[in-house]
């Protein structure tokens, strides 16, 4: 009887432990295993540096750099993720791309085409562009829901971004950027030519070289401009507007924003 009663009382303790372990595992189960199906498209596209690359991207991560070859190296990865491989495979087919070559212009584009009976995806989809382009090639990027990373580009570039992030590191060619709800990080080099950025609802971070020689013309409405002390001494600073004196042949960095915080930082300041 006593043994049976001890068994009776030990059972809930064991059950409690089991429940606790279960609860902990449920708490930690904010992670789960998924099947990933990927389609990798690799292509070399002959291109002169006088040509323009037009990239129209949707919901993608774009990494672009320059190289010394006379062709564009494209690696486009479509990824689809779901608990069931069958679903991941099926949704992978909803991602389409286009490469179109016309005289002097190469167009790359991706889009999502759902079958008529599908309204919502069951899994998650990802698109990644990895591009190497000939030096000094002109660029035109139209990005929607994209993360764009441009490294040391020397050609002329025009970028339009809706919702996302844009990082331009050490550009030397003249750059024009238009953004909506896109955060910019612009790292200026000693050889930066000029940058004109217009943005709304996205923040701008300008990283200058040690002793910046460029002319700054920064303005924003409602939010603010943050400047390193050295730059504040150089220019005229009012609330939401900063102008530094124009130096001969110095590159012009003009940023105008709406509801934008513009932050300028240099390696030895602030």
């Amino acid at each position: 009887m006593s043994s049976s009663s001890s068994t009776y009382f030990s059972w809930p303790r064991w059950l409690t432990c089991a429940l606790l372990v279960n609860l902990v595992s449920i708490a930690a189960s904010s992670q789960h295993k998924v099947q990933v199906a990927e389609k990798v498209i690799e292509r070399n596209i002959p291109a002169e540096k006088t040509a323009t690359l037009r990239l129209v991207a949707e919901k993608a991560t774009i990494r672009l750099r320059e190289w010394d070859e006379s062709f564009i190296q494209l690696k486009l990865v479509f990824g689809s993720m779901h608990k069931q491989q069958e679903v991941a495979e099926r949704e992978l087919t909803y991602m389409k791309y286009l490469v179109h070559q016309e005289e002097g212009q190469i167009t790359l584009s991706n889009t999502f085409i759902f079958p008529p009976n599908i309204e919502t995806l069951q899994g998650r989809v990802m698109v990644t562009y990895e591009l190497a382009i000939p030096r000094q090639m002109s660029l035109e990027i139209t990005a929607r829901y994209c993360k764009v990373y441009l490294s040391s580009i020397s050609g002329k570039a025009r970028i339009n971004s809706d919702y996302g992030n844009l990082e331009v590191l050490q550009p030397t060619g003249p750059i024009k950027i238009k953004g909506n709800a896109t955060d910019f990080v612009l790292e200026l080099g000693n050889t930066t030519n000029s940058i004109q950025a217009e943005t709304r609802y996205g923040d701008v971070q300008l990283i200058t070289p040690e002793n910046p020689t460029m002319t700054f013309d920064l303005s924003t409405t409602v939010k603010s401009i943050e400047l390193p002390a050295a730059l504040r001494k150089q220019g005229t600073y009012e609330i939401f507007t900063f102008k530094s004196p124009k130096k001969n042949n110095s590159p012009l960095i003009r940023v105008s924003g709406i509801l934008t915080t513009i932050k300028v930082s240099s390696p030895h300041e602030d």
Partner: protein, 177 residues
Amino acid sequence: MNNEQPDWSLREKLNSLNETPLPLSWDRDELWDVITSRQRRKSLIRRIQISAIAAVVILAVGGYWSSLNDDEQITIRYREEVVDVVSPVIPARDSLARFTSLLEERCRNKSTICTSPAFLELKGQWHDLEQQSNEIHRQLLRFGNDEDLLEARNKIMEVRTHVEKELLDLVGEDSDE
């Protein structure tokens, strides 16, 4: 052989090469005219055939050349991954309606502030942000809880909250003008 009467075997041969028989004329000049015209037609067909073969060869070589320059490789691969579960999207319609009615209420006695350019500009931006938020919401219905879209939505919501605060700061507390 009689020159005026061509050989029947030659006539049959010529007929077998062509669908339409030779004219039933034994006039020498007329017959040779027909023969030479058919020879010209044959040589034209031959030339077209040669040109077609040449074109096919040129296209094949061209295609091969362009495939050397413009090659495309497609690979399909699979793997297993452990990912974080994204919490479901919670629409914030109630807070929107509350803000609109609160602003209307405070503007009732403050027509000067509420018609000032600064107020109208902010209110215009607030409407623009509302439209953008709706657009992202539509995309979320297509793509589900997509991280990029949720990030975009959070960004818009953050700015909208800032604009709402600015608008309420402008109209101030609920007191008469």
